[in-house]
Symmetry: C2
Subunit: 523 residues, 2 copies
């Protein structure tokens, strides 16, 4: 009993939480209760009709089925139900006439017609573009069979059909009335908020990715949920994931929103909901770049921290300007404002250009000249010492446990080699000591997981410490190129913003957003 | 009339096409017709019962509602319906007892109970984890209201409740019988095929991306559908898009598949459908890299073709080995075979390593040394002339029309500059002529669309031809880095394959796939 009580308590707590998170759910449930009470009262009161008990079920059924969370869904279901009932009723009556003429073949014709109607309606329902009317086809089938069967038994086809239709209309009227008059919940508003929320999510992810990258925060073990693309509570990941994942939700909401009459802020007939989805799609196109940037953090090939610091200022600026732009656009979507006259992309393009220029000047940092066939580049170590900060103590590892993870495990190698090359003063024990470190950590790591180098080691016959000079250099250069990848992905992200701004402007035009300049004019 | 006839013809043609593409849809529709005929016949024949006409609607309704495409969906809906009816019936009977004791407050208690039940059931339905039972809650509500209302009118609570339940059971029995005994359609099988299909799609995209990249096939205008992430018939795009987009479909299928009894190849109880979804998730994680690779083709910053040719052999090999691996895994998923003893990743890792080594040797091609602060690299032009093939005639443009596109339009600039630098013999009119070319095409392009350089030009006061030497060099280096990005994304893709193979092996273990070695043993 105590257990049961505790379970009850937990359930109540969760229900309370859900209600607090979205009070509309409480309102909706109360509305549903109210609609049911109303329809029951109507049935109680209207004693005069004799067939009430037989048909009242239709009214109740309609209320329960048609009463959906949003107005758009309610209208669309109500329409489907009405159309399905009407057309099936008409067909059933026609078929009844036909079967009466047929005389003794009446039963055969009825059964055959049921089969044909069942086949056609089901087949049509499966056609992709008919998916929105799926419910209508169901109602059609139910109505046709019901009227035919019960009409055959009682001989009162028309009576059955009209009664059924009247009760369905009654139920639909009650549910539409209650749902639309008391605290209506609009699918369009949900869609609008969802799109604005996606902007914020991607902005948060972008900032998170750039900051984590610069602070060399790595995943000691990549969360296995990310590896199989499931929802995870990693803030950077969840931000863009929800934007990427919202496609089907947006489509559903749009399907309902187009049914809704003009209301609130959405005053025009045929409001361009499609453009909200389009803006969200353009945002998704940008979000994929954020996802690729996050991939650079998830990857086992990591650029050496001191090289990242060289571009710290520029990367940071692009990241924060990009996030600022996304937030501003998100706010403008939310407030339904057009862009101002100033070029919203100016700052972020400027930042990206600076990053590009810096890369151009320092691109020797992105490659490893030791292996060049055409001779070495001038040695850069010590050239620009204030750029090559020792970031060793800033390497943080996020604590994550999982069994699976990516396997390009070269960190140990390039840490040892690179730091030795570039920051000779970092490893106190000098070159020989640092080589030792590299080998030891290689040992530790190769126990932890099958290494990318696994089959190379296997070939050499001995499992550990078979990294030849040439191989370790190869991975060094891979790690430096990883920085080049990060920056060019970031620049590509900036390039994609133009497309986002374009589709936002299109939305602003067709949805008649407010012009911030006109508003300020009277002041 | 002729128009109507043509429409009919078109509809028939489409219906025929759909039937040919998936004959199961025809079978399913026929099954539905059969089930309806059976239930109608039962109602015709069982004349003895006097209340038939009143209750037969429940049987028809159950058939139409419960009869779903796959067995899993049918079972899950049938279970929901049964449970909802039973529990609501019990509650309604208890409430009837209670209201009889209440005497004159009977009506008030009934109405109040309807409100409370309606509120609670609706609220519970909205809780996320309850979503699978949404239909059950609806049935619960309908049943409760119906029994209470019609029981109150006739005073026959128990009679109503049992009759309703019997007819629902009859309908459920007919639909389950027909659906499961005649050509059953399993959701699990669909899930299995979907996962295998996704492998093929990603493999096709990967090959396409690498080939297009090497053959310098570009989008003259990026299809606007890609920019807003809608379905498009671009083969490279549709391959990975369907793998990325199938999340919700997989979840739905899995939700049904867990209801299905062991059947066909899936013989164990509690078959691990979850692992299929997990493998698909790991594949999706790889597909995101293919998507990022495709982004390199969509981007306006393009690596010069002659540099791509340097790495042609290695890139091609990684691409084709990666696609081969994906196809092999896809086939093994399809045939439900475990991996052989050989390391399936060996070839692709080897290929990636060669690519990495080549990059290490030639990384001077990936950067532009002219802007280095530390002095120029040794001049590479002419060093390795057979590598720097003139690929000018291989530049193909895909014909695509759209109004929006990404804007980093630097192609014209780097084509002119780079080819001039590296292949002086390519532009016949010599250095001055080639500078002209660069400027002219810059003019043409800046008319076509707002350029990435737009605001820089604006600052300088004159719209065109304000590219200073320094700026055009900056973009040259960006274009070279784009090649670096492509290769490191490709290598990251290879790294992610390990995770995919791991989750495939896990699936093979828990789902007891055949071992190809054991099968060959008797030979």
């Amino acid at each position: 009993i105590i257990n049961g009580w505790k379970t009850m308590e937990r359930v109540a707590a969760r229900a309370w939480e859900m209600g607090m998170a979205d009070p509309r759910k409480i309102v909706f449930s109360a509305k549903m209760g109210l609609a049911l009470v109303l329809i029951s009262l109507l049935i109680f009161l209207k004693e005069p009709f004799k067939d009430m008990g037989r048909y009242c079920v239709w009214a109740i059924l309609t209320v329960v089925v048609v009463f959906e969370f949003s107005i758009g869904a309610t209208l669309s279901k109500g329409f489907n139900r009405g159309l399905g009932t009407l057309s099936a009723g008409g067909l059933a009556l026609a078929m009844a006439e036909l079967s009466e003429w047929a005389g003794e073949w009446e039963e055969a014709i009825i059964v055959l017609s049921i089969f044909i109607v069942g086949f056609c309606a089901t087949y049509a329902k499966l056609y992709p573009t008919m998916k929105a009317y799926e419910y209508g086809f169901r109602v059609f089938l139910i109505t046709y069979c019901f009227i035919t069967v019960s009409g055959y038994r009682t001989g009162e086809f028309i009576h059955t059909a009209t009664n059924r239709f009247l009760f369905i209309a009654l139920g639909a009227a009650v549910s539409l009335g209650v749902n639309m008059c008391i605290y209506p919940i609009w699918a369009g508003e949900d869609l609008h908020n969802l799109v604005a929320k996606n902007f914020m999510g991607v902005a948060k992810s972008l900032e998170g990715v750039v900051n984590n990258y610069l602070n060399c925060i790595e995943y000691e073990r990549v969360p296995s949920k990310i590896l199989v693309y499931q929802a995870s509570d990693d803030p950077v990941y969840s931000g863009y994931r929800s934007a990427v994942e919202s496609t089907s939700q947006e489509d559903t909401l749009m399907g309902f929103a187009v049914w809704e009459p003009p209301h609130g802020h959405y005053k025009t007939l045929k409001y361009p909901w499609k453009n909200y989805v389009k803006v969200s799609g353009a945002l998704r196109h940008c979000a994929f770049m954020v996802m690729a940037l996050h991939g650079c953090i998830l990857s086992e090939i990591q650029a050496p921290p001191e090289k990242r610091q060289v571009f710290r200022h520029e990367l940071q600026r692009v990241g924060s300007e990009g996030a600022k732009l996304l937030r501003e656009l998100g706010n403008k979507v939310k407030k339904m404002e057009k862009l101002g006259r100033a070029d919203i992309l100016y700052e972020v393009h400027e930042a990206a250009e600076q990053l590009q220029m810096k890369i151009d000047k320092k691109s020797y940092l992105l490659v490893n000249s030791e292996g060049w066939e055409i001779g070495n580049r001038p040695r850069e170590a010590g050239h620009d010492p204030h750029d090559l900060l020792d970031m060793g103590d800033q390497r943080k590892f996020l604590q994550h446990k999982s069994l699976s993870e990516a396997v390009l495990d070269l960190r140990a190698v390039h840490i040892g080699k690179n730091w030795d090359d570039i920051c000779p003063d970092f490893v106190p024990s000098g070159p020989i000591g640092s080589n030792l470190t590299a080998n030891t950590s290689e040992n530790n790591r190769s126990e932890r997981q099958p290494s990318w180098l696994g089959h190379v080691s296997f070939k050499a016959g001995d499992a550990v410490a078979v990294l030849t000079e040439a191989e370790s250099k190869t991975y060094e250069s891979a790690s430096a190129l990883s920085l080049a990848t990060f920056t060019s992905l970031l620049i590509e992200f900036v390039a994609r913003l133009q497309n986002l701004v374009d589709s936002f402007e299109e939305l602003g035009e067709v949805a008649k957003f407010k012009d911030p300049l006109e508003q300020q004019a009277p002041i």
